[in-house]
Structures are given as C-alpha cells and as structure tokens.
C-alpha cells in the first residue's frame, strides 16, 4: 500500500534515502575507503591445512624485513580461560572467538589465521608473511556433518562434550549440543495418519557473499585509547568484542561506522579489528587491513550445511497429524550452528498437534559458521516445505490448499512453546492463490512450486537521538548501521510524527560516543526497534515544541495542539494566535528555554513475527540438467511497509540469494580439506542474466506492539526459495531433489536415474 492511501503523509511512500546521493556519486566512504596519515598495511597468514597442531611459529625472519613494523601471533593475545568464556549480556563465547581470531594450539580449518604482519606497504607485508615459519603436525580432518558425528571421527576439541543429553557423556565429541522442541505425541499422531512421507535432505555450506570484503583502520594510542573505523553490522558489537578479547575497557575504545557493503549476518562478529589494534599497539602506528575475496571465503563465517530427516503425516482430508524433524547442522570449527532456530521455525507455519524437532550442533574443519539471514530457518524449510509438497501430492491436494487447511493463525501453539499472536500467514496464502502467476500456463519441462517460511524477527537494545536544529531542520542519530536503507525509514517515521516535509529530516549513523549501546543490525530489527525509539524521541520533541508555543502564547500546553508541523491553539477558548511552525519555534529556542533534543534508549521487545509465501516457475533442460527460473513471486506480511521500495528490495534480494542457494552456491572442499572455490568465479552467486524480474506482494497485518505496525522484513524472503525451486523442479520433471545445491550435474544424474 503506497502513501496517503493508508491515511499517513509519509509512511508507505517511496522517499529518496538521505544517504543516496553519496552512494550514486562514489562519495560514500565504505570500510576500505578510509585512511590515516602514516598508516601501515596489515596482512594475515592463514593455515593451508584443515586440521593441524601448531608445533612452532618462528617470525624472526619476517621481523627483520625492512619496512616490517610489527608481527603478532596468538601469543600476543590474552588467553581467555573457560571460566571467563562468556561475560557481559548476550555475549559470544570469547574463548572460541579468540581462538578463531588467531589459532592457538591447533589450526581447525583451511584459512584459519595463525599470524599477522604490519608493514609500510602491501608488497612488503606479503613478502614478510612468506617468511613466517610454521611447523604443523597435520591431523586427520572432517568437513562433512555426518562424518563428524561418527564415533571414529577425528575430534576437533578434546574438551567438547555433547550438551543437552543425560547423563553427561564421558567421551569428547564433535557434537556440541542436542536440542529438542516438542508438543503432543508424534507417535500417536503418526498412528492417526493415513499418509506419511519421510525423506532425508542435505544442504551444503554457503557464504553470505556480501560484495564488500571486511576492512578496518585501527589506531591504538600510547594511552591505550583506541579508535577504530570499520564496516560492520554493529560498531557497538565491535567495541564490545575488542574490549573482551584484548582485556580493554569499553570506555577506551571508540568505533566509527563506515558505510557497510553488505553483511546479511556475516558482519556480526570480528575478524580483523582486534588484530589491527594489536598491530597498532605494537607498531605505534595506525593499521589498515582489508581482506582479499579469497580470505573472505576461507576465513569468514559461512552458514551451516546440514543433513536432515523430515517426516510428516496427515489424514486423507489433509489434516496434518504429526511432524518430526531431525536436523544435523555443522557449525564449522567452533560450536554455534543455528540448529535450534531451524527447529523452532520449521513447522511454525502449520497448526500441528504433534511436533518433534531434534537438532544437533556439530563442529567440523570449516570456518566458524556465523549468522546468515534468518539463521537456520531456510535450511529447515528446504526439507520441511519439500515434505509438505510431497505430502500434498500424495494426498492429491493442491500444495497451496494443503497449506491453507493447516495454516498457523493467532492462537496456534508453536512447537517451541508459545502460541502465536496476530500474524498474517493465511493472508499470504490468500494473496498467492489470487496472484496471476498461479494461472500462467506452463509448457513442457516447466513446473510451478510453492513454499512458505516463518521468522520471529528481533528487537533488542536500541538508542537514538532526535535534535531540532536552529533552522527547524531535524537530525535523527541512530546507533545501528544502515545496511539497506534504514536511514530512509527512520526519516519517514520521524517526518510522520513531526508532520514536516521529509527533506527537513536527516538521519545519520552515530559512532559509539554519539548514542548509548545498540544491538547490532540483524534479525530484521532496525526499522522496528530503532524506529520505536526514534518515534518515542520525536513524540517527546513534539511535546516540548507545544510547550514552547504555550510559553510564547502564555497559555497552558494542553491548549496547544500540533498539526502538520505547526503549533496551533486547540480550539476557540485557547485564544487567537497565529500558528507557530517548527521553524518559528526553533529560531526562538534561546528565549524559550534552550535547545530541543531528545535521546532515547530502550530494550525494544515484542517484535512482530512474520510469514512469507513464494511462487516459483522453472524450466528444466532434460539433456543438461540446467534449471531456468522463469517467473518468481514473493508474498510477505511486512506488518506495515514504511518505505515500500526498500521492503520490495529486501524481498527481491532475499529471493535472489535463495535461488543461488538452491541452484549453484556451495563450498567445495577437496580430499585434503582445502577450499577449492574461494572466489566469485567458482562460488557462483546469481548474476543479472540468471534471474527474471521478481514480483512482490506486500501484505500488511500491523504488528500490535509497534506504533506504525512494523514487522521485520529482511530475513523471511530467504526462507522459502530453496524449497520453492525444488518443488517447481518436481512439478516440471517428476523428480524430488533432496540435495542442495541442485546444480546441473546433480539434476542430470537424477534425471538419468529417474528414467
């Protein structure tokens, strides 16, 4: 729904983002675009082995190279004892984070950092890296999740014992934890079913694939006060993690956010920043570090791959009576696969009495997995939404109809405990049914697939300030990086509250000294949570503006109303006064009590969970296994689309990433445990010619906990595509593909076996 039709002046309109011109003219400064006089170049030496014990590191030769100013290894980082692994609120595991940053006793994956150098030029730094001698004792490695779970598998961490099982195991294992979510009695549920489908599915590890490599400039003063400029999803996160990893006090670190060139969850941790700080401390000079694309693939967090078993049963009439999922996700070198989130989201689109989802978090010799858009949910949805499709076909019910029959709604009990509040899943299914794509005729070897997805969305700590400037313009300062247009949505919400022209409002992202703490940008939280805080601050400003008008007119504040950006007497009795515009009042603030500015901080709760439903049409080349995406429609409950253009953009971008995940993206490891495709040539993200236009339908079922009804939008669109594509392929050629990516060799051999 576009502006005004919804009764608002700015909400729902397609305004131009305040940071837009800088980004189309090349002026916007991203992570690698910043520099300081006299700064050095930092580079990292990475392990060529998937699993090895470090016997000795000798940096003597490197340190003597002219132009080399500092060399660091794990010995330069404080060792974090298990007891102090988690400190602060909702923290990472600092012990693991530190070991991932710089390998200690062992390297755990190809690309694991072992040392770093700072030099006067990139060429000298590279030359010095080659002179660092590392003696490795190569150990057997394991990169597959089932292989890592096997009894005889090489163990990555001798001190890792499976959690979530009773009694506590005596033998260390690669299975970090087991989780279970269940309601009802699935055995009884399956007994009551007339039709049951059960299959195994597997997915490969894939990377977020942001186009901007990680980059940082860091400077540590002699007084140990530090300045960091970097692109991340949370400069407060960078500050917190650096302090925790280097035993610094948070107050001594200032982080200034650069523009961020994509993150999708991959920039919610640190890789370079603490290393750059240490190199700066040792050399006494500022350090710039920029990853190569190869380093991004080998050294930074992809998302989990998986092996899943999905079982669903239903009555002839289509009532789903029971559902079970066994999800085995690999986490890479350290625990933390988002398998619990996969368990929680997977069956939530459906109102099922008996559900059991069991998850295993498994370590493997791969880079440590980090968040990627709706962590865990897309993986589970690939298996579960494929199973729902297969069940529908077996029942002879249209896949969309089966979803409607069993759709979750307000009051539906989820497998992870709570009942759902106001949600818009049924509305997305209805919109799908009505969409013209559903009636587009399909030719030979063409097929249509449907899939749905669920995500909680996230709130969290949010801080912002709103200032009335002397000329009546308004500055909104947010502490959460703008990763895809959130400055635009914050401006829109503020302009709506003030009732002023959008061009009177500017939103900026402040550094860590400009606002109080902010949780990182992620989980689709910023327009919802920062929005709530900005709205609160703006409303407080409006109250003060009315107060100033009341003082000017010498009447009671209750006799002043605020409308269309100006203060007016409320009705006849209030007295006759010419309205005072925001500008009039701003100019006079020195005489009416001083500047007007409001800072707000809050831990915003109650994010609106949301659902999406996708329709995908494909054509399969039976002779080559090539799959072409013919048409695609994404439908999603956004609660309220503040800026429809950026909501559509999130949906279209999520779909494109999902199509890449479905068809071509994968981490390819050789027998030697080395990554074979650490570049955009062979890690194949979709290019423009791979995709059709991606149609979007925004459903708006307002989130009751947000003033404008906002729900998060960024995560959901990546959840349904893999299953939507698989279901479309099945519809086209009658083959159920269960392994991602569904690349041409896999599709072709399935076609050959199928005949």
């Amino acid at each position: 729904m576009d502006g005004n039709a919804n009764g608002y002046r700015w909400i729902g309109t397609r305004t131009i983002r305040p940071d837009g011109v800088d980004k189309v003219t090349g002026r916007a400064a991203f992570g690698a675009d910043f520099s300081l006089p006299g700064m050095l170049v930092g580079k990292i030496l990475r392990s060529p082995h998937a699993h090895a014990r470090i016997l000795r590191i000798n940096t003597d030769k490197a340190e003597t190279v002219p132009g080399v100013k500092a060399v660091v290894t794990s010995a330069d980082f404080p060792e974090i004892p298990p007891a102090e692994a988690t400190k602060g609120s909702s923290p990472p595991n600092y012990r693991h984070l530190s070991q991932n940053l710089m390998a200690r006793e062992k390297v755990l994956y190809d690309g694991h950092a072992v040392a770093a150098v700072a030099a006067t030029s990139a060429a000298i730094a590279t030359e010095a890296l080659a002179l660092i001698e590392v003696d490795y004792e190569i150990l057997p490695h394991v990169t597959g999740v089932l292989e890592a779970m096997a009894d005889e598998a090489p163990v990555l961490h001798e001190d890792l014992f499976t959690g979530g099982v009773d009694p506590k195991p005596e033998k260390s294992s690669n299975i970090a934890k087991r989780v279970e979510f269940a309601i009802g009695d699935t055995d009884a549920g399956f007994d009551a079913a007339d039709v049951i489908v059960e299959r195994d599915y597997d997915t490969e590890g894939i990377h977020q694939g942001y186009i901007e490599p990680h980059a940082v400039v860091a400077s540590m003063g002699a007084d140990r006060q530090a300045n960091i400029w970097c692109s991340s999803q949370g400069h407060f996160m960078v500050r917190q993690y650096c302090a925790g990893l280097l035993n610094m006090s948070i107050g001594d670190i200032k982080v200034t956010p650069a523009e961020i060139g994509g993150g999708f969850g991959g920039k919610t941790t640190v890789y370079l920043e603490p290393v750059a700080l240490l190199l700066s401390k040792k050399s006494g000079l500022p350090i710039k570090m920029v990853m190569t694309r190869e380093e991004v693939f080998r050294g930074t967090g992809p998302t989990s791959g998986s092996y899943m078993t999905i079982k669903v049963g239903a009555k002839r009439d289509g009532t789903i009576t029971a559902a079970e999922a066994d999800l085995r996700f690999f986490a890479g070198a350290f625990p933390g696969a988002p398998v619990h989130l996969g368990c929680m989201c997977g069956f939530t689109p459906y109102d099922i009495e008996n559900v059991k989802a069991i998850g295993y978090d498994v370590v493997t010799n791969r880079p440590k997995a980090i968040s990627y858009r709706a962590p865990g949910a897309p993986i589970a949805a690939f298996g579960i939404e494929s199973a729902i499709d297969e069940l529908a076909k077996k029942l002879g019910i249209e896949p969309l109809a089966l979803r409607e029959m069993n759709a979750a709604k307000e009051g539906t009990r989820t497998a992870y405990g709570p009942t759902l509040g106001v949600v818009g899943f049924e509305e997305t299914l209805e919109a799908a049914k009505m969409h013209p794509q559903m009636s587009e005729p399909l030719g030979p070897n063409q097929g249509r697939g449907i899939a749905s997805g669920y995500w909680f969305n996230v709130g969290g700590e949010s801080s912002a300030s709103v200032s009335i400037n002397e000329d009546g313009t308004i500055t909104v300062t947010s502490g959460a990086p703008d990763i895809g247009g959130s400055r635009a949505s914050l401006c829109i919400m503020a302009a709506e509250i003030f009732g002023v022209d959008i061009d009177q409002v500017r939103a900026v992202i402040g550094d860590t000294t400009a606002t109080a703490f902010n949780r990182h940008t992620g989980g689709s939280r910023v327009t919802f949570a920062l929005g709530a805080v900005v709205i609160e601050a703006a409303e407080d400003c409006v109250r003060q503006l009315r107060e100033r008008a009341a003082k000017t007119w010498d009447i009671d504040i209750d006799a002043v109303e605020w409308e269309n950006g100006e203060a007016r007497p409320a009705g006849e009795n209030a007295g006759k006064f010419e309205p005072l515009t925001l500008m009039d009042i701003a100019e006079k603030t020195p005489m009416t009590g001083g500047p007007i500015g409001v800072k707000k901080s809050s831990n915003v709760q109650g994010p609106g969970p949301a659902f999406g439903t996708h329709i995908c049409d494909v054509e399969v080349d039976r002779e080559t296994g090539h799959v072409k995406i013919l048409r695609y429609t994404a439908i999603q409950d956004a609660g309220r689309a503040i800026h429809p253009g950026y909501v559509e953009g999130q949906m279209q971008g999520g779909v494109a990433q999902g199509i890449g995940w479905a068809l071509n993206e994968e981490y390819i490891y050789g027998e030697d445990g080395r990554l074979q495709n650490p570049g955009f040539l062979d890690y194949r993200i979709p290019v423009a010619s791979d995709l059709p236009m991606i149609d979007t339908v925004i459903v708006e079922i307002p989130n009751p906990t947000h003033p404008f009804g906002v729900r998060g939008v960024g995560e959901i669109p990546i959840i349904p595509p893999m299953a939507a594509v698989a279901n479309a392929i099945e519809d086209a050629v009658g083959l159920r593909l269960t392994s991602l990516p569904m690349s041409p060799p896999k599709v072709l051999s399935a076609l050959d076996d199928g005949h």
Binding site: E180, A374, P375, Y416, G417, G606
Partner: protein, 82 residues
C-alpha cells in the same frame, strides 16, 4: 495464577517431566524466583541465553516484565538474527 511452559529438556532435568507449572502472577523476576523455590537450580538456566514469550509476544530480556493473571509464559532460547 500464571501458566509457565517449560521445554521437555528443562522439564526432564528439573521438574520430573512436568512442562506446565502454575505460579503466582507478578514480574518475571518473581516468577523465576518461585520456579527456583519449587525446583531448586532451575533459576540457573532461565537467565543467560533464554528468552520468554508472554502470551505469544517474545521478550529477549525479560526479568522486569509484568505478567498478568491468566497469562501464559513460555521459556525459549534467545534468538539471534542475520
């Protein structure tokens, strides 16, 4: 009275399998205290890394939340986003 819903894993460990516990309404802090009195040790795992849903609305940091009578409280793992 407020219904507290615990996961089966937690119930197995602390409540002898009982997943639905009835407590006095109040703040979440008071509710957690009551649970810990009923089932010693339970408090230790109802803080870090956990969130609650009160009548379906998720709170990641919840100790100060007021829970009305006839409300339902579910404990669940905290949610990280991309």
């Amino acid at each position: 009275m407020t219904d507290v819903v615990l996961s089966r894993e937690i119930a197995r460990k602390f409540t002898g399998g009982e997943t639905r516990i009835v407590v006095e309404a109040g703040t979440m802090r008071a509710i957690v205290r009551q649970l810990d009195e009923k089932f010693p040790g339970l408090k230790s795992i109802l803080g870090e890394g956990m969130a609650v849903a009160i009548d379906g609305t998720i709170f990641q940091d919840f100790f100060l939340e007021e829970v009305g009578p006839d409300a339902e409280v579910c404990f669940l793992p905290a949610i990280e986003g991309g």
